[in-house]
Amino acid sequence: MIRLNKVSLNLGKTDHSLSVQFQLPAFEVTAGEIVALTGPSGCGKSTLLNLVSGLRIADKGEIIVDGVNLMKLSPAQLDRHRGTHCGMIFQTFHLLSPFTALENVLIGLRFSDRNQKYPKKRAIDVLERVGLGDRLHARPDELSVGQRQRIAIARALVGNAPILLADEPTGALDPRTGLEIFHLLKRIAEEDNRTLLLVTHDPSIAREMPNNFDCSELIKPRELTADEEVTGS
């Protein structure tokens, strides 16, 4: 389902003027697998998610998702890949403030399942599934942080994307709510047989995940090219 092979990406200079590079020799996840991506801050967990979603393009290597090498896709094809294959969930929810819960989910559906015949019914079904059937018309600022993350999960689910990419989905929540959200996400992924890559710092969450991938060694100081060594840049 997802295979990364000899992927490298120049990430530029860090705060300490150190030029760094993301390097991943191999990474493979099968369809329906649930994996926690762990490691310290800045180790490249989010970069890995962004490479799988096509938000970042690697400099070298292969990124195969559902049999397609993302490195060979045009920007528009990458947009399409995100819409059809990836449901993204962010730490700070990334909801659109002017829109209600239902509208946020409908917007997600607008770009993920463009031929959906009954978008409103589909969006309401998904919102009910995440427990927000009674807050369809509430705007994000009228909801608790836990409810906001539920909208974000509904938005990620609504287009039936086979891959869920969750970047620290519990990071902005209190421990109890965080655990609720994690369980919801895991349960849905299992029920729907969706692939879930979940970035987390929380050891208790990582322990509950069937698979863990340690991202600690992904970012390294960048090796200079022969030209750069000559010019000293």
């Binding site: 920007p75 399409r80 990334h94 659109l96 409908l106 287009g159």
Partner: protein, 414 residues
């Protein structure tokens, strides 16, 4: 969910900025609409009056003054012309219709025009009678009068009512009232949308009788010799329609050469007046309106650019959900179109609504009836140019959104 709905939601979310931007655009559009529509309507209304007559003959003076006083019932007359000139012109085989205009008095500021019964036989350019009586009949007795529709409405006079004329062409406090000569209303004209609506038409004989009697009285009081050889009666102006309008230049020359007076071609004088005096004023107003619209379009550009800048995170979110670059650009562009479209529609409403409110005042002041809701073709062109300018202004932030890469903007806080 379509982009216009999404754009509308964003505009509602930033309602104050949106409202201010739309207000700016609508102010410019309203100005442009009002100036263009007013110009079109006033030209049309002025031409409607001027087009009724091919020639106006009168005493020596300014041709424009002669036209304004005898056709539009504005300004002072130039002087008199012998009545026999009228008789000569009327008997000319090239003349289709001619009528004298004798001025001297007013009632409530509305001029009393002394003329003859066949004045009401004036045909319009399609060959139908121009004047239409709403009530009563044309004058039968020499002190009968026919009221223009606006006079009837303003004065409240009805058929059979009497009133006294006041000396002079405008209403002045303390002016002499001709109490020995009551007028009687015999008819009321239907509205024509011309200056005739605010005139009172009586007989020329009544004008002569009132003023000759007054002059005799004054002469007697002052002990001076009795004046007036009554055979040398005069009229203020002569209105003429020709069998062939193309002959008006020759006829005008003939009148100028054969009399002490002048002859003017109303439509030429009015066009000169519009181009010479009204034209530059309208150009200045249009230039001001153009600047306002340009500033408004710049405001759209700045507003959208700022909105797109503030919404970099939202645009990145849409891209992360699978929106194409062109789709986020379309969304930003749609916002620009809604702002511009809203501003244009509101401006149209304010511009023409303002005219609708001012139409009564305009009619009172000039006698011209304007149609405030008619949109002339040059206004449509102006609106099209403004819409295109707004669309152009919306293009820049749309391109800017198109070019952004979402990954950095996703890190931005709300």
């Amino acid at each position: 969910m379509n982009f216009f709905f999404m754009a509308w939601q964003y505009l509602k979310f930033r309602w104050l900025v949106s409202l201010l931007t739309i207000s700016g655009i609508s102010t410019g559009v309203a100005l442009v609409c009002a100036v263009l529509a007013l110009r079109h309507e006033s030209e049309k209304a002025l031409s409607r009056d001027a087009g009724l007559y091919d020639l106006v003959a009168g005493g020596k003076g300014s041709p424009l003054q002669l036209v304004l006083s005898s056709v539009y019932h504005l300004d002072s007359p130039t002087g008199n012309i012998p009545y026999k000139e009228y008789e000569r012109i009327r008997s000319d085989p090239r003349v289709e219709w001619a009528a004298p205009v004798g001025l001297g008095d007013n009632y409530l500021g509305y001029r009393i025009i002394g003329t003859e019964k066949h004045f009401f036989d004036l045909p319009d350019r399609e060959g139908n009678l121009f004047f239409e009586l709403a009530e009563g009949d044309v004058f039968q007795d020499r002190f009968d009068v026919v009221l223009g529709s606006q006079v009837a409405q303003a004065s409240g006079l009805k058929i059979g009512d009497s009133f006294f004329g006041t000396h002079g062409l405008i209403e002045v406090a303390g002016a002499e009232v001709h109490r020995d000569f009551p007028y009687r209303v015999s008819g009321i004209l239907a509205p024509s949308g011309t200056a005739q609506d605010r005139a009172i038409f009586g007989t020329l004989k009544s004008v002569w009788e009132i003023h000759e009697t007054e002059d005799l009285l004054h002469s007697a009081i002052q002990g001076s010799a009795i004046m007036a050889d009554h055979k040398t009666r005069e009229t203020t102006a002569i209105l003429v329609r020709l069998e062939t309008p193309g002959l008006r230049l020759w006829m005008a020359d003939e009148i100028r050469e054969g009399t002490d007076g002048i002859a003017a071609i109303p439509i030429n004088e009015i066009m000169r007046f519009q181009q010479g005096i009204l034209g530059p004023v309208q150009k200045i107003l249009l230039a001001i309106a153009g600047v306002v619209v340009a500033v408004s379009c710049l405001t759209v550009l700045i507003t959208l650019q700022q909105a797109a800048e503030r919404r970099r995170r939202d645009i990145a979110i849409l891209r992360s959900l699978g929106a194409y670059r062109r789709e986020v650009a379309t969304l930003v562009f749609s916002e620009g179109l809604l702002l511009t479209g809203g501003g244009i529609l509101l401006g149209l409403l304010i511009g023409h609504g303002g005219m609708a409110i001012a139409v009564d005042y305009f009619r009172e002041a000039t006698g011209l009836i304007l149609n405030p809701w008619r949109i002339p073709s040059n206004e449509l062109y102006a609106l099209l140019i403004m819409a295109l300018s707004g669309a152009l202004a919306s293009t820049f932030p749309a391109i800017s959104s198109y070019r952004r890469t979402p990954i950095d903007d996703l890190q931005l806080s709300e």
